[in-house]
Symmetry: D2
Subunit: 308 residues, 4 copies
């Protein structure tokens, strides 16, 4: 972090303000997913009007400056080799992946972030042991996250191909994007904010994103609370680097996941979705996020699907 412009004390005030808006009771483990009511889910299905589906994930990435511990896929059986199975042969493989990291598309469980010794809703950080998270694991959302997705495209608003690393998106700019795109973000929406991170990566190559990364201004989390969004996804990890908060490296992670109970989706890919939205002349869609069933898990690789 260099040149912080928000003091630790101001951040704490913001944290408490935002946390006060996530009042679902002491036993709650779903956080902002509570905003997705049955009625809203039914309404979201009405977004399916073109009969088209689009991935919001990027392919498993190989090693790079933003991917020092890449996932891997290894073959176990090749179908052209002699088979021990009568009458046919199989292709089979095995995967190894870190659940988080800075390039593969994934969802963060509510156990992912500890602040002041507690996870979301005051759950003790010690519920996470070497065996996994006894509470707030990703398997709490085993039934998937389904609702109306909205994409706000910040580079489009600014008329540039991408935000440069380090740049931040404020609440005001999110509102401006809504107006420009003629879409309104409301309760229970799955909000996706495009900063152009992945397009920049595709065109210029990967860089050390741990040091410089476009993201949301911490203040934008007030917008998340106010609009009652259910989840937040980005083609970066939503947190800009360096952080502008003195002494807090990932303020949006703290505010969204820990204070507000908003699941984050990191390092998504919107470059297929943008032209689909343009073709459909709208920026909302049905969206389905289906984490793997990993009891105790701190998140999951995902491939969110937009259905237009």
């Amino acid at each position: 972090m260099s040149d912080p412009t928000m003091s630790a004390a101001s951040f704490r005030v913001l944290y408490e303000q935002i946390r006060a808006q996530a009042q679902w009771g002491p036993g709650d483990r779903r956080g902002a997913l509570n905003h997705i009511t049955a009625a809203r889910l039914i309404a979201a299905a009405a977004e399916v009007r073109d009969g088209r589906t689009v991935t919001l994930a990027a392919p498993l990435a190989s090693s790079g400056p933003d991917n020092p511990e890449p996932g891997a896929r290894h073959m176990k059986r090749l179908p052209a080799e002699p088979s021990e199975v009568p009458g046919l042969s199989f292709a089979a493989d095995q995967i190894t992946m870190n659940v988080h990291g800075d390039v593969d598309s994934h969802i963060d469980a509510l156990c992912h972030v500890s602040y002041d010794g507690t996870l979301y809703n005051g759950v003790a950080a010690s519920v996470v042991t070497s065996r996994g998270a006894a509470e707030l694991s990703i398997d709490d959302v085993r039934d998937g996250i389904v609702g109306r997705g909205v994409l706000l495209d910040i580079p489009r608003l600014r008329g540039i191909p991408w935000l440069e690393p380090g740049e931040q998106v404020t609440a005001a700019e999110l509102a401006a994007a809504e107006e420009a795109q003629q879409v309104h973000v409301g309760p229970g929406d799955l909000l996706f904010v495009r900063v152009g991170h992945r397009r920049r990566r595709d065109e210029l190559g990967p860089w050390d994103v741990a040091r410089s990364r476009a993201g949301l201004h911490p203040g934008a989390c007030e917008y998340l609370a106010e609009r009652q969004v259910a989840v937040l996804g980005s083609d970066s990890n939503s947190d800009a680097a360096p952080s502008i908060v003195d002494g807090v490296a990932f303020p949006v992670h703290v505010l969204a996941i820990n204070a507000l109970g908003v699941h984050l989706l990191d390092y998504l890919q919107f470059d297929d979705l943008v032209p689909a939205c343009e073709a459909a002349a709208r920026w909302s869609f049905l969206c389905v996020i289906a984490p793997l069933r990993l009891p105790g898990g701190t998140g999951s690789p995902v491939n969110p699907i937009a259905v237009l």
Copy 2:
């Protein structure tokens, strides 16, 4: 295999008959997914009437007689330990999984099965190398599989808790289940056939399913072709064991994946879906299958989501 009742020659005739019904052109790589037209997908969204979502996957399983090489999840960071990140701490983990196997819920890509030296649609088995599948990999369905799901519950039809290992479901029985459940399986549907495998496993414990397993009779694949289903999922792997076909261990895999281009979903979990369907008094729903983006992959772990 013991006591085969279908000769190798009869099976070959069946194979050719079924393959003749998958005529999407020599370059086709989507197979029966072609049945999911835009209109059918839009119609499927109208199934969302209750505003409820249900997982069709089982949690990552530990070792057992049906799971000799279990997947694993290991912690990388514990949030209660001192953090090297300023102002917060993270919980993070890593996963290792075989994509196929006999217990974890997964989807088979069209490259998964070679018969007579070729994969689906005559693609040479040699396209799959140690680097992965150059064609027909699971990333060909990166945009997800979305359509109307239909669950046919065979134990319900028979009035028993589950089919015993080795028992088979015929086409006639599928039709009988349709009638009993007052649902009709049609073009582009995602068909799920419950044999009670997982409930038996939950109640009696795991067994060596490689030797004995309930599944579909090979002849039921004619039903798949005729009804033009898009995918087939089961709480077993759709193939009964022992096989009734002389010299072919997995006849349904060969007929469905290789001949007909039907993606199979293996070892799903319907015990959450059944009561949801009962409560909704219907056996159809919107269904979303979102494979991970694994270029070259032979399949993917998945968590299919039913939306009612």
Copy 3:
């Protein structure tokens, strides 16, 4: 544990007695390896008189009742496939292994066992975090363990092919084996005790060794202390199951590793060594144990080499 014949209180007395014999100072991290002096190592080299080497490890095992989470080796490159490397092609692979377990040959680091909240020599158990062991890791023996090895063959003494699971080897029996084999175990020796576990496994197949396993009687650890052995290896894990100690499942692990600072080598393979010793008409040899360099590690797979 069933039918314990040593009370918890008696065990504690034994623990304190044995621990009192490992007095290398508060900062010591080598434990009984301190017994291997330069002079003893030089003397051990004189055991090389036949010019023959023998492995004391078993091949990487596949899944079984004693191996629920088997290690794996996957190919990354096949040399018969087209190569991206000019002028040649490579075969390459990748391994995944649990360091401990009940079948693959491995060494336990001194951080492996906590008793009463502390590791060897009073080191707090909390030095082991999700990042690994900050103290007493296997990398503390990065320079290898080299000394005189002695094999005591208990089934040979008893005139049987193997000890049955649950049977125990007492100190008196170790002494009897010495006499029968005309070898004396002394300070700095690497002691290997064969109970026939692996031969039984080879002949009868694997079983659930967590429940029944031949090993040493806890009292035999007094012999280890008295003779000042440097390490203890066995073709089981040295601890019999069920334990005869009330409330302590692995008493030999506690006494050897935690109290005495004796590195244990588990699930070795002596069936190549026995005929070599017979041919050489002696039961001592130079022995070299070379753990992988795994900083923070709790042990390592190993292939100890006997040189006769």
Copy 4:
């Protein structure tokens, strides 16, 4: 490769010349290890005169430009957490490693290199399948490699801290180092050639060694043949980059492993051994290489131990 100074044709002549010196019969699978006779092994044990052991391996490395797919070690159990084992608790972990690569110390099996479609001694490259190497796997040396080790320190000879990437060591220079160090390399010796690679890495940090790396001149393989060395190890991978051979990227790998049957040990660490040799005023020692028992494996991580 840039600016090759050895033509493809000249290389082929050299290959045939060298291969002609590895005549152990068509069924041989040990190659140059045949040079280690019983007498030579016994003689090597006489090198143990100081009673000191030294590791020749480097610690498991983290990600870097020379380590894009780093190995990993993950904790499975922490001893300070509540234990399910009565009376004690365990620390346990799991490792994942690529066997080869450009930083972790490892040995190459004789199946590692295919040239003109064959491995060492004319074995077809196709013996290596997705299941592993049916012949020439690392488990062929399960009994370890034990003999006299000799370290030739080229930077010492040149009076510099390390060879710069791209520089090569000729046969003449090896001979000069022998003379300077007053040691003679002879039949059955385990030859280690220090180019200073790892010291440079420690002092300047890692770089992209795939592009530039110090190593042996291909002609030095004539020296290996003539001196009848049993294995060759280096703190680089013995092959310089870029290659000076037109169209052959790793000429030393081809000549040593494939033509001569010399196992290579790559990316060793001599910075502990050099001061030990200086203190002992000699450059020879007993050396023990103990590959893990990985049937079908293309090599193994190793920790060679020098005993002085």
